[in-house]
Symmetry: C4
Subunit: 348 residues, 4 copies
């Protein structure tokens, strides 16, 4: 089987992962409309490509929070990587480092932060955080992450409660006994989401800032109003995200929400996006609409499911090649040439 | 079989109900476009969810005509509940009371008003009325309902004649011999819809008002003009409804019509809606667009078909949980925080 | 088999007609987009029904060119009725008369005008005309029609050449040897469409007017410009038609074109429509948008194929019942109450 | 098998061509959205046909760059015709000449320019050029073409790199050993696209102009900005093209891009189009929107695959007949009568 595009990895994962794991990764909330819209929305955006630009020397590098990455695609935080590959998040960390990409490790990793950090020394890693009712535990996580060299804190804002994912309920999804949410051992019982604190508000950003010198990125913003609040509360970045369509069904596709967030932010902080990225040209569209970088969730898991670290590198390499080619065919030789003029929204 | 969402009950009912009963409940007029549009229209409404609101304490109670209900979902009037479950409307009444919901009993019930009332003493019950050519008979029904403690009168305005439901014609639908339209015995022959009076006009509202002290709610309004007339004629509430798509095919979906009715009414009376509610997030959308409460028709029948009173409670409980979760994920901790800002109409 | 709606007759005809005849009747030009759009366009028009009008006494009669018909649906001109039923156009004429409807007999009938006229003495009949290169022959047809009591002349304007109907080419369609275009015998060879005159222009209306005292109706108009020209050339009526999608593919659906034609005509002449009428509510929509009457083509042929004269009466009766019911459910008791306010175009 | 429309040739080619060749010709970039949109976009354009024009004498001839052709359809440049038919481009050249059409021979022909020219002496032939890194080789090609009597140079602007065509990668597509890119022998190794020069810019138009007296046409323009640049750099014509959807996926359909290019150009140079032409009415739409002529790519290959020169003539003859009929049914007797008023964009 030749792996030509990300759908090939998806087909592989669907075929070879245990059904309960595939279902968990694939799950969207309710009718999965938002999950699917994340992808469909890209089809309604049309390029306006320019010709006869010198694209002989392509430079697809960019910087996020000041650090250079090989191209504007990172690994979004997703949980339970051991469901996809025995080495779990260690493999993810190694692949991200090998590709000079950014990896956002999830609180709900099946490896410890220490293992993740040690697997890819010097790699660009951010740490994703949920705020738990047990604030002291959250504080310890933040401080461990900072001490280990994670370079930013990504606060997930869209999960006061877990979305309703029908297949997980039908399957009675839970982690197999040999997997653990290792970062939470001691502080929490495993897999009790209800330990998350649904009373978190914008003021808790100040609390987080008091705990750490790390830049804080807020993930899960979908409106201009919240984007404005984020900036006012001093975050360093915003990830436009609907949690892969796993939380509130029938909210906007992230690529649609990106437009209003970028407009509200006006360049005061960096704006990223996750959700629905399946081709290099999706990355190009997101950048044309103002994203500094995008993050992939499910495709990374498919890569892991295919061949672990190597498979994830394959996924990233394909995206990278496709992104570079799309840029060239649209007439851009470097990331700074990508702009709003490159795309228009189809009325259909 | 785990019942996870309302579609599971629908699948169950389709499988286990006699075809003639399933077809009767499922029927829409003509090509069933409006029946289906009632559902599809929700997909075109997108949430604009807000993050980092304190949603730790959720309060989903509301009031309709001054009476508190546990959440803004009631049982719409539908006929012939014994087709779904032997105890018929008695089970419906019990489930509604158990869930502290509102039950609108239909004139075409297969239990008497007295049985319905006695099945759930103290429960919130409204009585749905058709005006018959035999006005004295209608008057007796109204007065029985008032005497029994029904708390409002719901006048159906969209059935001067019965819509054309092709499957019912093909099936030669009629009630099985052991079921009766018990509220009409003596006054009418069973199942002769032509006893309805197609000459009813707005002035008959005054006649109704002369018969009863109960608040009058008009059901079947789809335009701003009729909403204005309803208010002027002194009704206490409007149910935006197209009779589940069973009357005039190719009218508006109720969630679309709601917008213009709410705008016309300007808060002078309460506005409710039925038609197409299948998920808790549909309820949230209807409230965001100005409905005070919604009513479910077919899903209640599916619940009855599944396990009678218990099945209907399951349906209501699932809707309740989904509604609460949708609210929280959209950033609302109580019903009063739900507003127009929460949604936008997709252009697609 | 219970015949409940027009689709039932379509299914019957598709099953029992010889394939070559079914294909001929069903054919559209090229990709059949316009044929199908004629039907789909109705789905994009939504009723805005009004409630609590007195609809106890329904009057669905109307007048066309001053003559009363039982309801606003007539029989459009189509050729070769013997392909559907042995008695051909004689059956059509009888059914139309029995239903007090209007029948537009086609030049390409398989019965003579004399036979058609004699089959339904006193029935309302119009005669459809193509102008042939042999003008004298056309003149004789007009004068025969006038002498026989046909009450209007319907000039088809959209067939300078025959549209490309792929299935007819594949089937090598031609009339079976025992059928004749009886009105053309002597003057033409059978089935050579190229005898039609593609040089006809608006001035030929004057020529027609010089031959007959009959009112002239022009069929095949789709634009406001041509509607204006028609009025200026003194026609008495316009049939908005695209020849059932059999001529130029990818022109407008007739119900869409109706709007601009009605606006241009401003009541100076009567405007009719054919194409895509499949339900009584389609008739109501056409009238709401300004048509005085509509005509059915293929459904009439399906009726003939089902049971000849009787089958066509069934089709008309179903349409009549559906139309009456739609009117009542929309709040109109008589045709004069139908108006533009009843419908809106969906944006979808 | 009767060949009635172009889809019949497509079905034939799909059935009888080797899969690897069919896939190569059919391929689009990435998800093939643009390839398919090229066709779908025509469905959203509606004719506004005019009636009762004298269309008895039809004249469908036009001129491109001053040379008369029998109707406004030419053969777009496509590579590797021997994959479709043993005689390859020689057959194409003969068919084009027989139909008095224009043939744009591709650099990537499997016959030499000399063979192509000799196959159809006196035929209207243009030469399509890629600019290679080896500029001297490109110069030799230009000068050979000019010497052989090719009448224009068509510079392809949209292929700095080859688009990603998944099936070709899966198939490991390459030319069979007995076929050669004969025009490149000696100068290049066969099938190494990377010999194309991705540094080409608008200034290279001046270089080309310095090499030849031939008019220069630029192919692959999709925006008004590039159209303006093309005019300013002195080209004689523009082909609105997206390379049949084989380069950047999710750019505009060519018929949509045509509108803005025509508006920008304002008649200063001739504008042509390729992509998605499948019926005579598509040609009519393109001309109504301002194209002087259109070119067919895949349909020409299907014709070759069917019966070589004869099959391609069949394809052109069918298109010609369909175009003539569409014109007549739309009310135009000659090409000069075709205009913007004939079409409107559907909002759907």
């Amino acid at each position: 089987m030749t792996m030509v595009c990300l759908s090939d990895f998806e087909a592989y994962a669907k075929k070879y992962l245990p059904k309960i794991a595939w279902d968990y990764f694939a799950a969207g909330a309710d009718d999965c409309n938002t999950r699917d819209e994340n992808i469909l929305a890209y089809k309604r955006i049309r390029f306006q490509p320019r010709m006869l630009r010198d694209v002989s020397v392509m430079d697809i590098r960019t910087k996020i929070l000041g650090t250079e990455i090989s191209f504007p695609v990172g690994i979004a935080p997703t949980g339970f990587h051991q469901l996809a590959w025995p080495d779990g998040e260690k493999s993810t960390a190694r692949a991200a480092k090998a590709m000079n990409s950014c990896y956002i490790a999830s609180t709900y990793s099946t490896c410890t932060l220490e293992e993740i950090s040690a697997a890819a020394p010097g790699g660009l890693q951010w740490f994703q955080l949920y705020i738990h009712r047990n604030r002291a535990a959250s504080q310890r996580l933040v401080q461990r992450a900072e001490a280990l060299g994670f370079q930013a804190l990504v606060l997930t804002a869209d999960l006061p409660y877990t979305g309703k994912r029908r297949d997980d309920i039908r399957n009675g999804f839970r982690l197999p006994p040999h997997m653990k949410l290792k970062n939470l051992e001691g502080d929490f019982e495993v897999c009790k989401m209800s330990l998350l604190d649904p009373s978190v508000t914008w003021n808790d950003i100040y609390w987080l800032q008091s705990l750490t010198h790390l830049p804080i990125i807020i993930k899960g913003i979908l409106t201009k109003e919240d984007a404005e609040l984020a900036v006012r509360h001093g975050v360093q970045g915003i990830i436009v995200s609907n949690h892969g369509g796993r939380q509130l069904d029938e909210g906007p596709a992230t690529i649609d929400a990106l437009v209003e967030v970028v407009e509200a932010v006006q360049g005061r902080v960096e704006v990223y996006l996750d959700g629905g990225i399946r081709k290099g040209s999706d990355v190009l569209k997101a950048l044309a609409l103002g994203a500094k970088c995008v993050f992939i969730g499910r495709p990374a898991l498919w890569g892991l499911a295919y061949k672990g670290e190597e498979g994830l590198q394959d996924v990233l390499r394909i995206l990278q090649d496709e992104f570079r080619l799309s840029m060239a065919l649209a007439g851009c030789a470097r990331v700074s040439e990508i702009g709003r003029h490159l795309v228009q929204f189809s009325k259909l």
